[in-house]
Homo-oligomer: 226 residues x 2
DNA sequence: TTGGTTAGTGTACCAAATACACATTTTGTT
DNA sequence: AACAAAATGTGTATTTGGTACACTAACCAA
C-alpha cells in the first residue's frame, strides 16, 4: 500500500471504484452477498464486494474482477446500477463508485474469503448488518431496481437453473414481490409472454405428481437490459 | 492548462467528467443541445456540454455547473443516465464520464457561447452532426431512456410551460412517440392519471374556439425519478 | 386402498385501452 | 348577418388484459 506516489496530474483526480450488489434467493429469502473488510477504513465491517478501477480496465471488467477476487464468484451477468459520488462518501479520498447489480442462482455459489476480504457471506436483505460507506443506500437502490425490472425484463431467470418448473418460477416471483400469486393466473401470464417452453421432461422427485420442466426459449435474451 | 503536476497518487487515477444530454422540442422536433468544442481534442467538433469534476464537487453539481458555463442554461432538472468508461474513449487520458439527461421548455433557453465552448446550439435529434468522443452513443441512450420514462413518469411536463392546453400536451407526446394519438383517448387517459387540473382560464388566441388551460396538480412531483 | 402432497387446468367478471364522428366556439370574410 | 375556417371538446361500443376462484391428476408411502 505504500507506493511512491509516482502518478501525478495537473489537477486533482478522484479515485474510481466499482461495487457489486449480488442478489440470490436462499432459504426462501432474498439475500445479498457481502464481504467483511480486511483493511481500513471500516476494517472488520461488512461491505459490498468491489474495489479500485485499474487504469486500463473497463468498468464492468473491474466489477467482475473484484467480485472474483473477493468472493470467488464468476459468470454472473452485471448491469450498471448508478454512480455514487458524494464528496464525503469515503474518508480516505474522493471516490466515485460505479455500482452494478447482478442476480445468481442460489446453489451455484459458495463464496470464499480472500486477501482483500476477511470473508464473504450471504445476508438476508432484511437482516443486513451495519454496512461500510454508503453501501446500505446502494443495496436499497439495487433492490428497487430489481423489483421494477421484474415486470418488463427476463432477469428473473438468472436466479433459476436452465431447467425449472413453473412452481419454482412462481416461488421466485413470490419471494421477490413478497406476496402470494394465484397459480392459474401466474401460469397464464408467464406462458402468454412466450419466453419459456416445455422441455418435454418431468421432474421425478417427491411423493407427488411430477412437474413439467421448462426452459427459457432464447437464453441469450435473459440478459437483455431495459 | 500547464499546471505543475502537483497532484500525485500511489496508483494511477482516471479523470472524471460529467456530460449532459439536454432535450427540448423546437419546431415540432425533438432536439439536443450541443456545444462546439473550443479546445483539443476534437477541437471545432460538436459535443455534449460537460467537463471535469472538481475534487470537492458533487457529480450533479458538476453537471449543472458545466451546463451553465458552456451554455448559460440553468434551472433544469437532471437525472443520472449512465456512466461511460471505455478505456479508449478519450485520447488524452483515461476518462470516466458520468452522464445526465434533462428536458427543458423550448422557448426558455437561448444558449450562448462561452470560453470553453465556441458556441452552443440545438440540433434536431435526427440531424446530428458528427460528435466528439462517444457522444453519439450517449445521446441515443438518453433518447431511449426518455421514451421509456414517458409512460410511467411525469418528466414530459418539464418540456412544457407551467400552464398549457391539452392540445399542446398531446403534441409533445406525438413528437416524442413519433405517432399520432386519438384526441379523445389521449384526454381520457391523461385526465385519469389525476396529475393535471384545469386552471379555469382559456386561451385567447387564434381564430378558433379557445382552449382550456391546464396546470400540473403538484409541480414538485414533476421531477420524480423512480 | 387410502391419505398426503404437489402439479395442472377453465370460466366468469371487471377494468383498462382502443376505435371511432360530430357539435362547439371563436375569428375573419363576404 | 350569414358563412367559412380552424381548432376545441365530448361519449359509446368493443376489445383486451387482468383478476377471482375450486377441483382433478399423478405420484409416493403407509
Amino acid at each position: 500500500m505504500a507506493a511512491k506516489q509516482r502518478h501525478c496530474y495537473d489537477y486533482p483526480h478522484p479515485a474510481v471504484t466499482t461495487d457489486v450488489v449480488l442478489f440470490t434467493i436462499r432459504q426462501q429469502t432474498l439475500s445479498v452477498l457481502l464481504i467483511q473488510r480486511a483493511n481500513h477504513p471500516f476494517q472488520g465491517m461488512w461491505a459490498l464486494p468491489g474495489g479500485f478501477l485499474e487504469i486500463d480496465e473497463d468498468l464492468e471488467t473491474c466489477a467482475k474482477r473484484e467480485l472474483m477476487e473477493e468472493t470467488g464468484i464468476t459468470g454472473v451477468y452485471l448491469e450498471q446500477l448508478y454512480t455514487f459520488g458524494n464528496p464525503q462518501r469515503d474518508p480516505r479520498e474522493r471516490i466515485i463508485s460505479v455500482t452494478y447489480f447482478a442476480l445468481s442462482q442460489s446453489d451455484s455459489l459458495s463464496p470464499k474469503a480472500s486477501s482483500d476480504a476477511a470473508q464473504a457471506a450471504w445476508f438476508p436483505i432484511n437482516e443486513l448488518p451495519a454496512l461500510a460507506f454508503d453501501h446500505r443506500e446502494i443495496v436499497q437502490l439495487a433492490r428497487r431496481r430489481l423489483l421494477s425490472k421484474l415486470s418488463y425484463s427476463t432477469i428473473v431467470f438468472q436466479m433459476l437453473p436452465p431447467q425449472f418448473t413453473l412452481s419454482q418460477l412462481q416461488s421466485v416471483y413470490e419471494i421477490l414481490l413478497n406476496e402470494n400469486l394465484d397459480k392459474r393466473n401466474f401460469r397464464k401470464g408467464i406462458l402468454a409472454r412466450n419466453i419459456i417452453e416445455e422441455t418435454g421432461d418431468y421432474t421425478r422427485s417427491g411423493n407427488h405428481r411430477p412437474a413439467k420442466i421448462y426452459r427459457v426459449v432464447n437464453p441469450s435474451q435473459v440478459e437483455i437490459i431495459k
